[in-house]
């Protein structure tokens, strides 16, 4: 469904992504991990064209992301994205956050968009919070609203950019639980995260990145069993120490 071929990206002389190729099949959950600054976030932001890339091709259901003639807003509306800092719109209630793009992008009428929003908030266990503003919600609640906002667009795939990194430890579980459920329902997902417990539970494949390159792309069992690269072994030993 999502295909990256030889993707490279430079910021001036600095190479952020170096010849990255990978693919995500329908229904697959791919976890992307690696040390900070390795280009993981940049890579998934290239998938929906939020970050431009210099070389290579990315296609989503055979639509080329880098092609100038591609209608990027339309493409983005079909791919959900969840950010590290939630990025809920602070001047709108939780419900309004979920309604906005349904109305303005998909052209749903207000009643239908609100119904969809409430159904999703309910699924996230947030039915009571619909009328609250983001500042009145905890981090974990905000992130679940953000997931609901993305799901409201009926996306064909979901991208998660370190969805739990900005959360207090006690709130990480509530967000991961939602993501696990989503994965079990068959959602196609690309998840940048350090949560190896999550990866063990639901990932089909693990992609390990370092210094802008994909060092390892392996199925879960072989990655956690015997990662082939030294760098992946070192990384794992560091984050699994405790």
């Amino acid at each position: 469904m999502i295909e990256l071929k030889n993707v490279s990206k430079w910021y001036g002389p600095f190479r952020v992504l170096d010849d990255c190729s990978m693919s995500i099949a329908k229904g697959e959950v791919v976890v992307i991990c690696g040390p900070s600054g390795s280009g993981k976030s940049t890579l998934i932001k290239c998938i929906n064209g939020l970050e431009p890339f210099t070389k290579g091709t990315i296609t989503v259901e055979d639509i080329s992301v880098g092609d100038r003639s591609t209608n990027l807003p339309k493409l983005r509306s079909r791919i959900g994205m969840v950010f590290q800092n939630f990025e809920l719109f602070p001047h709108m209630t939780a419900a309004e956050n979920i309604v906005l793009a349904q109305q303005k992008v998909l052209g749903r009428d207000r009643a239908a968009a609100e119904a969809k929003g409430h159904e999703l908030l309910d699924r996230m266990g947030l039915a009571e919070q619909a009328a609250k503003y983001p500042s009145q919600l905890s981090g974990g609640q905000q992130q679940r609203v953000a997931i609901a906002r993305a799901l409201a667009m009926d996306p064909i795939a979901m991208l998660f950019d370190e969805p739990t990194s900005a959360l207090d430890p006690e709130m990480i579980t509530e967000v991961l639980d939602v993501m696990v459920k989503l994965a079990e329902e068959g959602m196609t997902m690309a998840v940048v995260t350090h949560e190896m417990g999550f990866a063990r539970k639901v990932a089909n494949r693990i992609v390990f990145m370092d210094q802008g390159t994909i060092v390892e792309d392996a199925d879960k069992e072989s990655f956690f069993g015997t990662p082939r690269s030294e760098r992946a072994q070192l990384f794992l030993s560091k984050i699994l120490q405790h």
Binding site: K45, N48, L50, P73, K74, R76, S77, R78, I79, G80, M81, F83, N85, E87, L88, F89, P90, H91, L100, A101, K104, V105, L106, S135, A146, R149, A150, M153
Partner: protein
């Protein structure tokens, strides 16, 4: 000492003073409106990815902000007739000066307002499939305006006070009118006290309003 005060002088000259007040309010209203419009254009130009455009606007803003307003008023008073080749009333030359001058300040406030919205917000809006224009309209500007309304209001209060400078080109604003009465009837104390009181009431109400807006819209 207050025994010798003659506040009847205010009543006797009320229509004259009111005319001055009308000019002050008119000038403030028009200059604020024009300044905001031009200021928004300048702010957007300064944030534009077209670098030369941003530089020209930056130079304009920095230049005008380093000039005393009174000098700008003089300039436009002598420049505008020369530029368009025919005489212009003092009122319009002053209005143009105010609009150009205020726009420089407003543009900085508006630019700061837009920049104060976190960058991630535009990514989030666009990730949902909103176009750039829609993201600006529904996500960025509503937040930016909330951030800048109190400062814009404060700047407009300063603008109101600055209208008293128009005496240099012979216009009769509120303060100038009061000044005329004061020297003609030799009643400076009463008149300047009155002027101070009126400015105090207007500016104090406006700052209270600014505070309330700030609290109401704080995010």
């Amino acid at each position: 000492m207050f025994g010798s005060f003659d506040f009847a002088i205010l009543w006797a000259n009320a229509p004259f003073l009111w005319n001055g007040m009308l000019l002050t309010l008119q000038l403030t209203g028009l200059a604020v409106t024009g300044g905001l419009l031009l200021g928004t254009v300048l702010a957007v130009a300064r944030l534009s990815p077209i670098k030369p455009l941003a530089w020209v606007v930056e130079a304009y803003v920095n230049f005008l902000r380093s000039m005393p307003l009174i000098l700008v008023i003089f300039w436009f008073y002598t420049l505008v007739p020369k530029l368009i080749g025919r005489p212009v009333s003092s009122f319009y030359s002053v209005l143009i000066a105010f609009v150009m001058f205020e726009a420089a300040y407003y543009s900085e406030i508006i630019r700061a307002g837009i920049s104060s919205v976190r960058r991630g917000q535009i990514s989030a809006a666009m990730a949902l499939g909103l176009t750039k224009m829609q993201s600006m309209r529904y996500v960025i500007l509503p937040q930016a305006v909330r951030n800048m309304v109190p400062v814009l209001l404060t700047q407009s209060i300063v603008m109101l006070q600055d209208t008293s400078l128009v005496y240099v080109v012979g216009l009769r604003d509120f303060l100038t009118s009061a000044d005329i009465v004061a020297s003609r009837d030799n009643r400076p104390t009463e008149l300047y006290l009155f002027v101070a009181l009126v400015f105090l009431v207007i500016c104090f109400s406006a700052s209270r309003l600014a505070n309330r807006l700030q609290r109401k819209y704080a995010l």
